[in-house]
Amino acid sequence: MTIIKLSDIGFKYSEDWVLRHVSFEMKKGEFLGIIGPNGSGKTTLLKTIDGIFIPQEGEIRIDGVPGRQLSRMDLARRIAVVPQDTQLIFPFTVEEVVLMGRAPHLGKLRFEGEKDFRIVEQAMKATDTYSLRRRGINALSGGERQSVLIARALAQEPRIMLLDEPTALLDIRHQVAFFDLIKTLNRDRSLTVIAVTHDINLASDYCDRIVLLKSGQIYAQGAPREVIVEKNINEVYGTNVLVDQNPVTGKPRVTLLSSHPSDGGSRSEAGAAPQL
């Protein structure tokens, strides 16, 4: 069942197209990774799917309904977004932030009821943030704060979750924990996930499918094995990488090749470069 369909999307802020001729489809329960260099339009693409930017060309359909026909409330009940980080000026507690995820399901004046508190409690337990619920959100570490934002997204009970470089500020333990959690949700609740990330290896390990963007256009899309190959990565990112196989997952693995290797080791190609 197709849940998201983009046909020939074009978007520009002013003069130049930031996205052009972008088309892809997603089935319910799919896990899609969007990769590409800085400025290739990854985040912009995410924001057009979420309805924050309205594309000038093409059409986005969510559940078969054109995005333009969906109100912000309709969208918020279907799509949740986990941002990179959040900075708050005024001190909300963790529980209050997660409760905000219920907003799309409540009327203007209705307070959260028992059901909402139960959903929020489950969301906090699923993300290991329940013990933090009375703490101020600004008093948490980056990793904890990110978990709270996932809890908020879960409390929204979405069918689609968009992740905008969610692990950029996390250490490796939290990166893996984050993606493991998302993968579990993706499998158990057949949550549809789109993750924008700079970490090609994480995308390779977790995503069913990869979209590689270059200057606002899709350069390649398909299974990680098809997209993450040396030729594509070298060409799109303009840098030299080595792609082999992750010995554990069997997925493609990218190794960055420095032009200044400190020991001049086994990388014959890069070893030829002058040493500092």
Binding site: I52, A76, V81, L88, I89, F90, M100, K108, F117
Partner: protein, 364 residues
Amino acid sequence: MIKHFVLSIFIFFGSSIFSADKGQADRAVTLSRVIRVSVLLGLVLFLVSLVSMLVGPSQIGTASLLKIFFSGLFGSEIVLPDMEKTILFSIRLPRIVFAGLVGAALAAAGVVFQGLLRNPLADPYILGISGGSAVGAIIAIISGAGAIPFGTPGLSFLGALATIVLVYGIARSNRELQSNTLLLAGVIVNAFFSAVIMFLVSVSSNTNLHSIMFWLMGDLSLVVGEDIPAIALFMAVGFSVIYLYARHLNLIVMSEETAMQLGVDVEKTKKILFLTASLITAAAVSVSGIIGFVGLIIPHIMRMLLGSDHRLLLPSSLLFGASFLIVADTVARIAMAPAELPVGVITALCGAPYFIYLLRRRGV
């Protein structure tokens, strides 16, 4: 005796909120908590008003007031000297109600501006409404239009409205309101009006100067009893509209993008809230002058005591702002009796040190 009254009220203020809402500040806001805090702060407001009615240059005994109160309760005839009746109901009561309305309006507008602009330094005057309003009032005073009914508040309100149109006109681009542009537009417009005010002050006569200074420092002695129902209605509508968007305000404080992702029509909400908060500020300023500090510190005090959720923050700030300004105005009336001080002097004199104390203790 009077001093003890005022002092005991201040102590009552702080302790009552703390004790009744103890250990709740980090809990999620529920309807029952909003009602509990509102009833409590409503009670504080009632008691403050009662004490304020007893205080003034002419002594009216506690017995008289109690007599009125109980005769009212039991439906019996009030037997009081006409003098006392006039002082209580035609002079003091209107002024207390008036101070309460202005305090509530400034505190509520302060909450909205701080939230929408995501700026803890924001207050109701940050968009220049006070400046435009002051220019209108000063023109009224200088030209003699202040002598006719509604002269000063009328022109002052017009000045405030003109400022609102001007500032939003500057900040509006592509049918979107940019908060930062709005803030800058407000600062610039305020600076411009300050220059105009300085100019008008420097060319005005000595007799007008005193009225102008009082107006600029905030003055609640201008009230006429008959105006109160209209002002009260205006404020009530404003407060209701703002409260409808209290939860949306929580989400906008997170960030405008987050609010959109959680289903809020951000542009529409911002316009409605900015406009409503601006209008109640304009109404308050045009009848009372520029009373500083209420709109800045009351929201912060309430946030520190009760948390950041606007569904609790708005009603509590509104009620506490009302109580605060009534106390400040009472002090302004009696501190140098029979002369009166501008109430803005009192709010700044007690507001600033208390705020510094809170800041040192808890941080904003």
